[in-house]
């Protein structure tokens, strides 16, 4: 806490200075999720709406109603799946704007009296959008290449070792090899985020941003990896207690359902905040990277 106050006094970029923007990003994602969920709920409503428990039978233990629904209404549900895929693409591409906006807002909020108007933040986000889009493509290609290489390596390992050590041990080696690629995939993601922060912070193009991001990572690899890993890990771990509540609530409605919704949305909001916290960290390191770059090598 003391360190946090000192950071604020020095004008350090912090996510907690922008709770409104965090809420806005959460709301944007919630709205997109509703675009998927509403048609699905409508289809369920047509099938189970007349039931006194509404869609409660769908969530009963044994899953008979759920299986029947998935089997009988598969044609209607295929439209929902298509919509879901479309929404995910939109979330990835259009999501660059709220991502850029929250980074801009956090950067400006770090300066005393430096808050920008919403309009200017939005305008800045649009300005950063092309470079962030290119970074997104580069990220996609790099991660795809990593997965492809990992698949090739693990397949070869399994094929070579299966007859020697048996299926189970070969699979363990396969999994170990796959896990070995996880740090590379994580580093690519971190460098991408650092590059994105550089785009927002210094209005550079994608190529310069990648260079700045890589340089920022090289300056503090372990602390950046830790900063990214604990936030990412925590955001996934948080899903467990939320699932436990869902288990307890099961197919009930009313207050229990309200409790479940509040638990779920609180979890999602905290996850959004953790992501913003990481973005703030990326902005801080991107700044340092640019500073070192200006001064040149000592």
């Amino acid at each position: 806490m003391t360190e946090g106050i000192a950071d604020a006094a020095r004008g350090v970029i912090l996510a907690r200075r922008c709770p409104g923007w965090i809420a806005a990003v959460w709301a944007w994602q919630a709205a997109l999720a509703l675009v998927v969920a509403w048609p699905a709920a409508s289809i369920v409503g047509k099938a189970f709406g007349p039931d006194p428990r509404g869609d409660g039978p769908l969530w009963d233990a044994g899953a008979h109603s759920l299986l029947v629904f998935l089997s009988r209404d598969s044609h209607a549900l295929s439209g929902v799946w298509t919509l879901a895929a479309l929404v995910l693409v939109i979330a990835a591409v259009a999501g660059l704007l709220p991502s850029a906006a929250i980074m801009l807002a956090m950067s400006e909020a770090a300066h005393p009296g430096g808050r920008r108007s919403i309009a200017r933040v939005v305008a800045g986000a649009f300005a950063a959008f092309p470079a962030l889009g290119v970074l997104l493509v580069i990220l996609g290609l790099a991660e795809t290449a990593t997965v492809a290489v990992a698949w090739l390596v693990t397949t070869c390992i399994e094929a070579v070792t299966h007859d020697v050590v048996g299926e189970a041990r070969a699979n363990v080696l396969e999994i170990a090899a796959a896990i070995a690629f996880a740090p590379l995939a994580a580093v690519i993601w971190i460098v991408h985020d650092l590059a994105g922060a550089s785009v927002v912070r210094f209005r550079v193009g994608a190529a310069s941003a990648v260079w700045l991001g890589a340089r920022a990572f090289a300056l503090a690899p372990w602390s950046l990896c830790w900063a990214w890993a604990w936030r990412t890990g925590l955001s996934w771990v948080m899903i467990v207690p939320a699932s436990t509540v869902a288990d307890a609530v099961a197919g009930r409605g009313g207050a229990a359902l309200l409790l479940l919704a509040c638990t779920h949305q609180s979890t999602l909001a905290v996850r959004t905040a953790l992501h913003a916290s990481w973005a703030a960290r990326a902005l801080r390191n991107a700044k340092r990277s640019a500073y070192e770059d200006e001064r040149g090598p000592r």
Binding site: Q29, L34, P50, A168, N171
Partner: protein, 688 residues
């Protein structure tokens, strides 16, 4: 480290045993079963093999089998085909050299002048075999990468003087215009009279295929099934129940004693039907002799990597053979046997053999997994199968159930596959439900999926395509075979169990399994037992469901409700004409129309749900196309639910089982909440 012993007072197991004992007591005390005056069972053992020792049967003293219906339960099969063989494995060439004798008796009422012998390994000899021609999807559809076949080197009839008469010269391996060599006709030099025994000498060489459809090799792993010349079953009327190895078909044979000596490299571990009666290692070879009576097939496996875990369960020596690294799933297999063996024995009669071997295959050899042979079953699942996904348990429980519905009740699997696979599928789902409750197939991350729900949905997909009760080779596709033979049969029986009572159906299956133990019943015997226990009408419904594509769809078709009103109109009373207007009275009136579509009739519950939350349950006997259920009460009728407890598992559409009055329909709020939540997690994961 694997270890098989579990403390006898272990909590869950103890609870399960208490349950089983309760079921047994309830069954035994049921006066309808006629158990009170039971007398000692007779042993139907022929005199042809007077040297009969234990034959792998349990030697613990047992007074007699349960007599559910007052009749005698057979303790042994009637011996008809005894095999004494020696098999030598060359694991590098993947060949088995076999030789030995068959002692066979004409158990029919007619003299026979020919034998039919199944050479089922020839199913994998070339692409013109019936098996490979008929590939219609499902297991075995990819065919072997390496061909397999059986060459009969010697087949001779030993005459009364001890001289051998060659039969190979006249053997007819193929029919004209058909290259299939799995069903051979062997003319005999003389007719064999009813009741007469003959001895055949034989020698043969197997080339095992790469693993395909229950048999073959994968690396050093060898699963040796359908590997020897096997005499088809001669029906009592003198007709032969012989057939080629069809793609979707399994097997049918007579009972007998199998005495098989298996010879493999010393580094190999053997798993085989029946107990080991001799074992030695000499000249770098492991030689094991297995001997088992009262069975109708023999399979074995040999691998230099097998690991094992053993336990004694319900008086049976159970051994799990599993690949290295599969310790956890092997323990799950064993746990499944710990529950299912006593449970099945309580329901269908005691397991009569002293041993049970469970072979857990690798995923790359999974075509060998999930198969039943007498006292030996194969199971499968990845070694990393998550706890809560009950694949190893389900496969093990299923194959174990076949020890009754195939092994002991030895129906013709080629002609009536629903009698073994279908009934056993029900037994599997019933056992899993008794063991694991509603999450009997999956119980993971809050998702509970029952085995029977999966069967219901699968079976419904093909119900109008073709009948359940038909020969395996008659099914149009492997998918339909699975949906109808397995899933539809199971969900039909489950419907009877839920509608007419679990105990009644359990009693019917128990009588059927005990009455026809060591016999070869057909569908009529099965239906007759249902008629005996549940009545002719119910058995008729069962027949329709199995033979006539019978189906049913209950539907709630409109709920209405309004303020109760006095009757208005023109009335002629006491010589006077009076006119009165209808006016509101206290309370509400209304009703619901319930329809039954389809050909099957079941009684069904209907819940009427009032605005104040109260419910009233009515039962409709299901006769007729529809029924109007009237209602009058103090609160408005807002909805009706047909079959609220989902007893009619085969209801073609449970989504139309609900109806609500105007304005009483609900929004799918739970669905909206949960899908939005998971969608939002996905969006967060993919967002930059």
């Amino acid at each position: 480290m694997p270890h098989g012993r579990r403390q006898p007072d272990d909590g869950p197991v103890r609870a399960e045993r208490v349950l089983i004992v309760g079921v047994l007591l309830a069954t035994v005390n049921d006066p309808r079963l006629g158990l009170g005056g039971a007398t000692a069972a007779t042993v139907d053992r022929p005199t042809a093999n007077p040297q009969a020792p234990a034959f792998g049967l349990r030697t613990t003293p047992i007074a007699s089998g349960p007599r559910l219906d007052g009749s005698v339960v057979r303790q042994h099969a009637t011996e008809i085909a005894d095999y004494t063989m020696r098999a030598t494995l060359d694991p590098d060439a993947h060949t088995v050299h076999g030789e030995g004798t068959i002692r066979w008796r004409n158990a029919s009422t007619q003299p026979v002048g020919e034998l039919w012998i199944h050479l089922y390994l020839n199913a994998f000899k070339n692409q013109h075999s019936a098996f490979l021609r008929e590939r219609t999807g499902g297991r075995g559809s990819q065919g072997p990468e390496d061909w397999g076949f059986i060459d009969l080197r010697r087949l001779s009839l030993v005459d009364r003087t001890g001289a051998a008469v060659d039969l190979l010269a006249d053997i007819e391996l193929r029919r004209p215009g058909d290259d299939d060599e799995t069903d051979a006709r062997v003319p005999l030099p003389r007719t064999i009279g009813p009741g007469e025994w003959i001895d055949l000498e034989m020698a043969f060489d197997d080339k095992l295929p790469s693993i395909v459809e229950r048999t073959g090799y994968h690396g050093h792993f060898h699963m040796v099934g359908q590997w020897f010349p096997k005499i088809a079953r001669l029906e009592p009327d003198g007709s032969w129940a012989h057939f080629p190895f069809h793609h979707l078909s399994e097997f049918f044979a007579d009972f007998g004693i199998y005495d098989v000596t298996i010879d493999v490299p010393a580094s190999y571990t053997i798993g085989a039907t029946g107990p080991i009666v001799e074992s030695r290692v000499e000249h770098g070879r492991r030689i094991e002799r297995h001997r088992q009576g009262d069975i109708h097939d023999f399979a074995w496996t040999a691998w230099d990597a097998w690991q094992s875990v053993s336990d004694r369960i319900d008086g049976v020596d159970v051994r799990i053979l599993y690949p290295p690294g599969f310790t956890a799933v092997a323990e799950r297999d064993l746990e499944a046997v710990r529950f299912a063996l006593p449970y099945d024995a309580a329901n269908y009669g005691r397991y009569p053999y002293s041993v049970l071997t469970v072979v857990h295959t690798e995923e790359q050899a999974s075509e060998a997994g999930g198969m039943e042979y007498p006292t030996l079953i194969t199971t499968e699942s990845p070694w990393l199968t998550p706890t809560g996904v009950y694949v190893p348990e389900i496969v093990t429980v299923h194959e174990l159930g076949h020890q009754w519905f195939y092994g002991l009740v030895a129906t013709n699997e080629a002609m009536w596959p629903f009698l073994d696979e279908g009934i056993n599928q029900y037994a599997e789902a019933d056992t899993m439900a008794a063991w694991r409750g509603e999450g009997s197939a999956v119980d993971l991350l809050g998702l509970c999926v029952s085995d029977m729900a999966l069967q219901a949905v699968s079976g419904e997909r093909a119900v109008h395509d073709e009948p359940v009760a038909q020969a395996a080779a008659s099914f149009s596709s492997g998918a339909n075979y699975a949906r109808l033979v397995y899933s539809r049969t199971a969900s039909v029986i489950a419907t009877f169990a839920r509608v007419y009572g679990q105990s009644a159906v359990r009693r019917a299956l128990g009588i059927y399994a005990r009455r026809y133990r060591f016999e070869h019943p057909g569908p009529e015997q099965f239906l007759a037992v249902f008629a005996e226990v549940l009545g002719a009408d119910v058995a008729g419904t069962l027949r329709s469901a199995l033979f006539d594509r019978g189906w049913v769809d209950f539907a709630a078709d409109g709920v209405w409700s309004r303020r109760a009103q006095s009757a208005g109109g023109v009335w002629d009373r006491d010589g006077k004409r009076q006119t009165s207007a209808a006016h509101d009275e206290d309370g509400w009136e209304g009703g619901v129309i319930v329809r039954r579509r389809g050909t099957l009739v079941f009684p069904v519950d209907v819940d009427l749900v009032m605005a104040d939350g109260t419910r009233r349950r009515e039962t409709w006997n299901g006769n007729g196309d529809s029924v109007l259920i009237p209602w009058r009460g103090s609160s408005a009728l807002c909805a009706a639910v047909v079959d609220p407890d989902e007893r009619v598992v085969i209801d073609a559409n449970i989504e139309n089982n609900r109806a609500a009055a105007a304005g009483e329909e609900h929004f799918a709020s739970r669905t909206l909440e949960r899908i939005a939540y998971f969608a939002q997690i996905a969006i967060q994961a993919i967002s930059p």
